[in-house]
């Protein structure tokens, strides 16, 4: 089993190394560099370009710069933002906290609701409650995040006036100051998240309900609720832990959009701003951080499924 865990860890690290290379080579292979992006390709005078490249260390060969960049990233040093003239790690740190706050709050709200609704849908399969829940879930999943978020703002802040539609708190404000502003972004993110997870929960519960041991328990005359709580739920929910972690990872992209709609000072909005400014070093750094989050969540998903499902532990690797 330890061999298995080590193997998963090694694969995760390998994936991250590949991501690092892709992010770096991607920016490298495309025409232009941080200096032409910063100064503008047509207007940049040769001498200014040369000086800028000197300053940013772009004169060295690409593979040397890669190792300098990757080595720095490993220690949390992503270099200096060419637009903002600040160390990138300082810029990124507080934004990362805000994004994690949003994600954690949305998970805390969304996951329990998703599990509850998913179980209800499965238990009332093909009846009214299930149809309502499943159909709404499909709508919530298919609508782009920017549409559901915009509709939320229209209903709750423009028409009803209950909640602020955009976040105006300073990025580095303490967590409790965000609490009121953050309600709508949380709902928007939890909405999509709930839809994805509840569908998985529903499928898992339905599978377990159809299994032989549950049929056996029903035939033996075990009371319905006892079957549900003792036989179905433990077996159905363990595999969903893994799926939940995967879904969270997949939803990172949606977080970026929601941050922008609500003007939330997270990593996603910083990324968008840096794309608009063509601040390539900052874009690279944020892409890498979000990829680390993604790979990390995937790894957690893998390890959790090992814990939850003993059969996987003896699997041949």
């Amino acid at each position: 089993m330890f061999k298995l865990i080590l193997r998963r860890l090694a694969l995760g690290v390998l994936t991250l190394v590949m991501v690092t290379i892709i992010v770096f080579v991607g920016v490298e292979a495309l025409p232009g560099d941080a200096c032409t992006a910063y100064l503008g390709r047509d207007t940049a005078l040769e001498t200014r370009l040369a000086k800028c490249r000197e300053d940013l260390g772009l004169n060295q060969p690409a593979h040397e710069r890669f190792f300098i960049w990757a080595g720095g990233a490993l220690q949390g040093d992503f270099g200096i933002s060419s637009r903002r003239h600040k160390p990138i790690s300082d810029l990124v740190q507080i934004r990362l906290r805000n994004t994690l706050l949003l994600g954690a709050a949305a998970s805390a709200v969304g996951i329990p609701i998703a599990i509850l609704l998913g179980v209800i849908a499965a238990l009332t399969r093909d009846r009214a409650a299930d149809l309502w829940i499943s159909t709404s879930a499909i709508f919530a999943m298919t609508l782009p995040e920017f549409i559901s978020a915009t509709l939320l703002i229209l209903f709750f802040s423009v028409w009803l006036g209950w909640l602020p539609g955009i976040v105006i708190t300073r990025p580095d404000a303490p967590v409790f100051e965000f609490l009121q502003d953050i309600i709508l972004p949380i709902i928007a993110l939890a909405f999509v998240m709930t839809a994805h997870i509840l569908r998985m929960v529903r499928t898992c519960v339905i599978d377990v309900l159809a299994s032989d041991y549950v049929q056996m328990a029903i035939l033996k005359g075990v009371p319905y609720w006892q079957v549900v709580f003792r036989h179905v739920l433990p077996n159905a929910l363990l595999p969903t832990i893994n799926l939940v972690a995967l879904t969270l990872a997949w939803l990172l992209g949606g977080t970026v959009v929601i941050e922008i709609v609500f003007n939330y000072p997270g990593l996603g909005r910083l990324m968008l701003d840096s794309v608009s400014d063509r601040d390539l070093a900052l874009v690279q750094a944020i892409a890498l951080i979000l990829a680390v989050l993604y790979v990390g969540l995937n790894l957690v998903a893998d390890l959790l499924s090992l814990v939850a499902n003993p059969r996987l532990r003896t699997m041949k690797v």
Binding site: T15, F139, P144, V256, G268, V283, A287, N298
Partner: protein
């Protein structure tokens, strides 16, 4: 006619099969609705330049944030342009770019996946590691990374979308190929002494093709979503071209006084995405492919 499974009919008779698949899809209520919505949007995209009531760039000072009226059914936007006109035109870019992007993505990802599934070995291992790494980058990050360097012209957007979404097609196509090569009818073909090329063309491809069709339909809806999101973020279409994502982004600031300028493109875009999804679902059921077992992305 003793054909047990209509999905495995004589390969090569494609035109007939296509019509049959569409008819079969339309037999399901959700499939009929989906096809009708998609068909309506495609038709509208083709004929809209000739039937729109006004010019999409003309700014009329009386129409600034004006409400719906008999002359302007959906009112005006913040620059005094007719919202109905812009909504009718707003899906054309999304439709063309996402269709081309999906086509290219399925073609390149599908063929690479097929080849990898067949040859396996070292090359397969290496490419799949690279695929894993690409899938560890959230879609929006990847697109923004490219856009940051290359800009947002159509010639950049289409290949970028096609490249990124093609990577997940590799996985699907490879898995489908593995699935098929383990089946009895392949062993039978081998035992008959069929040539490798014949087996691939006659036995494997038709089966993988069904999986790719269903996947392509789903990917089409994701690509519309991705394009509109980019457009909403200001990285898709250059104003003053009408585009739903951009219209929603622009109208957002005036939602309190002119909600129609936001609601019209929202309804148009949502209906298109839902229509594509319903059609993809019906296609999957018609071709007998279980979409539930597939991971997101």
């Amino acid at each position: 006619m003793a054909v047990a499974n209509p999905a495995r009919e004589i390969p090569g008779n494609r035109a007939f099969r296509f019509g049959a698949v569409i008819r079969e899809m339309a037999r399901r209520p959700s499939g009929l609705v989906g096809l009708a919505i998609v068909g309506g949007h495609v038709l509208l995209a083709v004929i809209s330049p000739w039937i729109v009531p006004y010019d999409f760039t003309t700014q009329n000072s009386h129409l600034v944030l004006a409400g719906p009226s008999p002359e302007h059914w959906l009112g005006g936007d913040h620059l005094g342009r007719d919202v109905l006109t812009r909504t009718m035109l707003g899906g054309r870019q999304a439709l063309v770019i996402s269709s081309l992007g999906t086509l290219i993505a399925v073609l390149w990802g599908g063929s690479l996946g097929l080849v990898l599934g067949l040859i396996g070995g070292k090359a397969d291992d290496v490419v799949m590691r690279v695929v894993d790494a690409f899938m560890a980058i959230p879609w929006i990050l990847f697109l923004l990374l490219i856009i940051a360097v290359l800009g947002t012209a159509d010639v950049v957007l289409i290949p970028t979308l096609a490249f990124f979404y093609g990577i997940s097609v590799i996985r699907i196509s490879r898995a489908a190929t593995h699935d098929v090569t383990a089946r009895d009818f392949i062993t039978a073909a081998r035992a008959r002494g069929e040539r490798m090329w014949t087996i691939v063309w006659r036995e494997i491809l038709p089966n993988v093709r069904d999986v790719l069709l269903v996947d392509g339909a789903m990917r089409w809806s994701w690509m519309i979503l991705a394009f509109s999101s980019l457009s909403f973020l200001g990285f898709g279409i250059t104003p003053p071209t009408a585009d739903w994502g951009l219209m929603i982004a622009n109208g957002r600031g005036y939602m309190a006084v002119a909600p129609w300028a936001v609601l019209a493109p929202i309804i148009a875009l949502s209906s298109m995405i839902i229509g594509v999804n319903l059609s993809a679902d019906a296609l999957a059921k018609t071709l007998g492919i279980d979409r539930a077992q597939k991971a997101p992305v």
